[in-house]
Symmetry: C2
Subunit: 217 residues, 2 copies
């Protein structure tokens, strides 16, 4: 396979995907976004990770997303949901986020002559976000192909694995320590093991603890 563009936030999942793509493709471009997220530090960290891995890095200002709909990731006056409420996504859901990220990724990929797009979304631990589901990604793949008359393939290496298996994948790719210490998954922007209290940290820690037990054996 020739070249791929990775949607890259600098978190555990997309960083694992970045190194997965680096192994699989000859050329990799990492694409990050600023969109008014409170933890803008994750973008700086994304750049550091990509540059240290010798991967082309590009950042797009997608701050229009924060102005479209209210959510607790970009609105600092809202208290973040720590659990998914019944019948609706948590207020950390940014409506249309993956739709915009992947659509922008497609336009940028096409400009580079790239047909493969990689994203770290996962249905397994999807936390109530509808735009992390496999059926959404498959539908979007068809939509972007029709929108631009171009043959994109969206790759989702983490779609059906849980956080424990994501740690295992990182370990097999030889980047366990980079993922553990350099990535930011935490909703409060704390690097590595994070704040420990937000839903993202809890999910990451459960997976890590589970994997560390298996790893020892």
């Amino acid at each position: 396979m020739d070249s791929a563009l990775v949607v890259f936030s600098g978190g555990q999942d997309s960083t694992t995907c970045l190194f997965w793509a680096k192994q699989k493709f000859n050329r990799v471009v990492a694409l990050s976004f600023t969109y008014g997220q409170k933890h803008a530090k994750e973008v700086e960290q994304a750049e550091i990770i990509a540059r240290e891995a010798g991967i082309e890095w590009q950042c797009i200002d997608a701050s229009f997303i924060s102005n479209l709909a209210s959510n607790s990731l970009t609105n600092s006056t809202m208290q973040m949901d720590t659990e998914k409420p019944a019948g609706s996504p948590p207020n950390t859901f940014v409506p249309g986020r993956n739709l915009f990220f992947l659509s922008i990724a497609a336009v940028v990929a096409r400009e580079h002559g790239i047909k493969n797009i990689v994203t770290g979304v996962s249905q397994t631990d999807f936390s109530g976000y509808p735009d992390c589901r496999d059926e959404f990604i498959k539908s979007l793949n068809q939509t972007i192909n029709l929108a631009m008359d171009y043959q994109f393939t969206i790759h989702t290496p983490l779609m059906w694995i849980d956080k424990c298996q994501t740690w295992e994948m990182a370990d097999k790719l030889g980047v366990f320590n980079i993922i553990r210490t350099q990535t930011i998954t935490c909703y409060n922007g704390v690097i590595g093991d994070g704040c420990g209290n937000c839903p993202a940290c809890k999910l990451r820690k459960i997976g890590l603890d589970k994997y560390l037990k298996i790893r020892k054996i």
Copy 2:
């Protein structure tokens, strides 16, 4: 039917759709975009048309679109294609434009509690733009529904009619003169009958001349 959001550029097609929606729905919101288009005057005109019709009007800055890929509508150093080149869309094609406009429209509609989205795209006179085709719109409708777990319906009243029939529709809606004198279809931003030379003006004029002949009879 209750309420609808119309993607509204202030051109012939979307203005006809605006009045179509006004007749069909109790509440209509018109949504315009700035995206670095050379003829930004069309947005001012869109606001005037909407306000005079007593329709809520909203404008979103989508200028990120111009930075993603080169095209002659937003890049003033490029000469516009006056005809569709063989094997590719004309360079007036802004990659992903309708994908972004309709995705943004969906997020904004959902914030208003609106489920109906109206767009003036037409496959009949599609001028080589892949994102004006019916199969794209149908695929996108499914994608936005999955992205936000919400039941949108995208309406495309002009999909299967030509420019002559669009003039006829405007006439039946009682807004023939508004469309003829107040809208901007022209790529060079000239109101009403336009510059007469760009592909958009030519297409509009052919339809108008054809309709005026029928109308007299």
